[in-house]
């Protein structure tokens, strides 16, 4: 009996996870592992794609041609990152159509941060600096996730994404070096984007629905709270360097811990936005559906061409 169980697919899977080996598409894996991955990777993909909207809002109004080119290149990257991630999800047997369908029916989520509006040019700086900054902290950790295709997509994405955060921070640097109005604009953007950025890491570890199992399967490698702490620790000095103030009265360096202490997230707001009642939830989804419908003729044409060739 012991011999048989040593040879069982479950046992091989468990051993691989234990030994820090990657799981690859054709390996046997528990149903729950597969489902959990499809949920997380598709949510990640949707976030990349929906995230193009708040930035696209400023494409035609970026202050210079150079800034337009940079912003366009960044948004183009996000679309590409969505593709890498959808492809990784497809290696698990999910189809692109059902993933998009799940987004449109609200069964699949995307990062709530993109339900906030981009009101000024400084918001584009804040998004690159804070939102991409937070995403990078998360994605660096996910480079060692246990599913091979997801891990490799993360490596590719992190490599490409290094410019996103810097271009955003540079926008903030320029505004912070500017006149009083420009400095106020930078501060206002930081004030509005700081807390939603901290929310990107999700609920506290104790309240996170999928965290414990994901950690056991090594899909997630570091806890929400640990990643959030890492982001705060690296970002506070960056704000100080350009004379901006983090909007948190409880923020203080804790020498004993070697970390910043910071205030509590407004979880009511978090829940409100996650459940669909943020400022832009409906707009973001409607826009995605519309764009998807508007593209139907292209897909039709491709199919018609393929049939003709066959």
């Amino acid at each position: 009996m012991a011999e048989a169980s040593l040879e069982s697919p479950q046992h091989r899977f468990d051993n691989r996870i234990e030994a820090e080996e990657k799981i690859e598409p054709k390996d046997w894996m528990p149903d729950g592992y597969r489902k959990n991955l499809i949920r997380q990777i598709s949510q990640h993909a949707h976030s990349e794609v929906i995230g193009m909207q708040p930035e696209g809002n400023w494409l035609t109004r970026a202050p210079t041609l150079k800034r337009k080119c940079i912003l366009l290149a960044k948004i183009q990257d996000e679309g590409g990152h969505g593709l890498y991630l959808y492809s990784a999800a497809e290696t698990l047997g999910a189809s692109r159509e059902e993933l998009v369908e799940a987004l449109h029916t609200g069964h699949a989520k995307y990062a709530s941060i993109f339900n906030y509006p981009t009101l000024t040019w400084a918001d584009i700086g804040a998004i690159g600096w804070l939102v991409d900054g937070a995403a990078i902290v998360n994605q660096i950790s996910l480079q060692s996730t246990s599913y091979g295709p997801y891990a490799r997509a993360m490596v590719r994405i992190c490599k490409e994404e290094s410019f996103h955060q810097r271009q955003g921070y540079e926008i903030m640097v320029k505004l912070a070096e500017g006149n009083a109005t420009q400095r106020a604009m930078a501060q206002d953007a930081l004030d509005r984007w700081w807390w939603p950025s901290l929310m990107m890491f999700g609920p506290h570890d104790a309240e996170s629905a999928h965290s414990a199992q994901s950690m056991r399967w090594k899909i997630k490698r570091q806890s929400n709270d640990d990643l959030r702490q890492k982001f705060v620790d690296q970002t506070v000095p960056q704000a100080e360097a350009i004379g901006l103030r983090i909007p948190d009265t409880k923020l203080v360096w804790n020498a004993a811990r070697g970390h910043y202490d910071f205030g509590e997230i407004d979880w009511n707001e978090f829940n409100r936005v996650v459940s669909g009642n943020g400022l832009c939830n409906r707009q973001r989804l409607d826009h995605h559906k519309q764009a998807h419908e508007d593209g139907e003729w292209v897909r039709d044409a491709l199919r018609a061409y393929a049939e003709k060739q066959a």
């Binding site: 691989r16 080996e21 990657k22 799981i23 690859e24 150079k66 080119c69 940079i70 290149a73 990257d77 900054g133 091979g148 891990a151 490799r152 290094s162 410019f163 955060q165 810097r166 271009q167 921070y169 540079e170 640097v173 000095p237 960056q238 100080e240 360097a241 350009i242």
Partner: protein, 96 residues
């Protein structure tokens, strides 16, 4: 010369270890996919180089033409701002 005796050509991709990409290592002739896999094992992984092998019949690979490289990649050449090093950080910020 007749091709009667030539078996189809297969391209071989080997993954050295779990988690890595499959990398192209060479090609071989084989009657079908299964035989190609076995030949690939014998030809390319004699010293345990592979944890996984992919074989793809060469005729299924569409390749870009290097002669066209200039026009094919041209739109990418003048966008230095796609690189992180394009952006200067303040001295107080050591890395990002």
């Amino acid at each position: 010369m007749t091709n009667r005796n030539l078996l189809p050509l297969w391209e071989v991709f080997v993954r050295g270890r779990r988690g890595l990409d499959h990398i192209h290592v060479g090609s071989l002739h084989a009657y079908d996919a299964e035989q190609a896999l076995e030949y690939a094992r014998d030809a390319y992984t004699r010293r345990g180089e592979g944890a996984s092998i992919w074989v793809v019949e060469s005729r299924h690979i569409t390749a870009s033409q290097e002669a066209d490289a200039e026009s094919f990649y041209d739109p990418m050449d003048d966008k230095p701002y796609r690189h992180a090093t394009y952006y200067k950080l303040p001295d107080a910020v050591d890395n990002m």
